[in-house]
Symmetry: C2
Subunit: 234 residues, 2 copies
């Protein structure tokens, strides 16, 4: 069995869960009205998610990382909301995938999120964290477990499929016994993207609008962030 | 004026040209029936382009490169067909953009192309070439000029907008005199992606289908390529 592996597919394959999508939208709205410390780019992003919600793929974005050989990797992933009260984006992944190896060596990432209906793009640049059941942070492990419980049966089943990117297994190997719905298997990971800068481009403006958001400071807790917003040429 | 710049927007903003899209589709078909040396991944890609043609954004993909500081960059670009009889994908770009700087230092790239209607993803990994009017290759300079002539007036106008990513200029600066329709300005670049490997994932399969295409050899002309195709686990 090759060590080469990738389950980007396991993320992409997950049918968007509309209940979860609505919950995220509500969460964003609640954050705004409650005046919590949310980054200023969260408001236009929440608006884009809301306005494009009729297109299920509007919750997919492309996540770029760097391979150990210095070349870029790029794959589609599913947005799973923000972690707790933070500004960190959640995704899920398979520990057996090349992506997880890449992140261990170089956690830098840029998400490119294009919204087709409203014709706008967010480029979210930052650092990735991989969370497993072994992560020494109660809040993160709770989020990891909750996400496992929230995803669909078919999404959970994919984590029990044969080793990703290995030579194609028999079809019967893709019908494993259903995994435990409560406790995630070791291969299930939560990915968090902590964002340092955002480049928001709106193609519908006249001529177009483009805003850069740059994090200028963080408190010791990493939660209280200061951001600089600049209008720039598209 | 800052040297920091990016006109990813100049690519993204271009309205897909349906005539050009049809021409590409016809070209692909012609290649197939004529039995030309086209890479085996061209056939499923042509099919995906054709089946998703009703969605204009199906001609957009996300292009990842690596910044000089080793972090990944990722932005949406517009597919402009294949260069001549080659398997190289064409895009356009602005010489003033950060992307062009990045490519000069590290030409490695991965395009992630997700087709929403048919639910399939192509990851195209390879090397980028930047073509300008100064490029010492008649065929490439011809393609560069032809592309300039083919794009829309509004697409051409963007190359005459104020410096990308500089502090927002006055609105009136975004209405420059129309550029020459025949001769591209120095800031207009043709980008070519020479593909080394392709990862094609079809989510609609049962369970799913995933194929890897790897280039195993090239002739001296670089045109006669040999490819290995492997079915792997999704």
């Amino acid at each position: 069995m090759s060590s080469a592996s990738s389950t980007d597919s396991s993320q992409l394959n997950l049918q968007p869960n509309n209940d979860s999508a609505n919950a995220v939208a509500k969460k964003l709205d609640a954050d705004e009205t409650a005046g919590q410390v949310i980054a200023p780019w969260r408001s236009p992003l929440a608006r884009a998610i809301h306005r494009n919600r009729a297109q299920p793929f509007s919750r997919y974005f492309q996540l770029a990382t760097v391979r150990p050989d210095g070349t870029p990797a790029n794959r589609t992933v599913v947005f799973r909301g923000f972690w707790a009260d933070s500004n960190q984006l959640m995704m899920i992944g398979d520990r057996r995938s090349e992506k997880i190896e890449q992140i261990a060596e170089n956690p830098a990432a840029e998400a490119c999120w294009y919204f087709a209906k409203t014709r706008e793009q967010f480029r979210l640049c930052g650092q990735l964290t991989v969370v497993t059941a072994d992560t020494a942070h109660t809040g993160l492990v709770d989020a990891h477990q909750r996400l496992w419980q929230q995803i669909s049966d078919s999404a959970r089943a994919q984590f029990c499929w044969p080793y990703p990117k290995a030579p194609r297994a028999d079809d019967q190997d893709f019908s494993p016994p259903s995994p435990d719905e409560q406790m995630p298997p070791p291969q299930f990971c939560l990915l968090l993207l902590a964002v340092d800068s955002v480049d928001h481009l709106e193609l519908r403006g006249e001529p177009q609008n483009r805003h850069l958001y740059t994090k200028t400071a963080s408190s010791a807790q990493g939660n209280s962030q200061q951001w600089q917003v600049t209008a720039v040429n598209p």
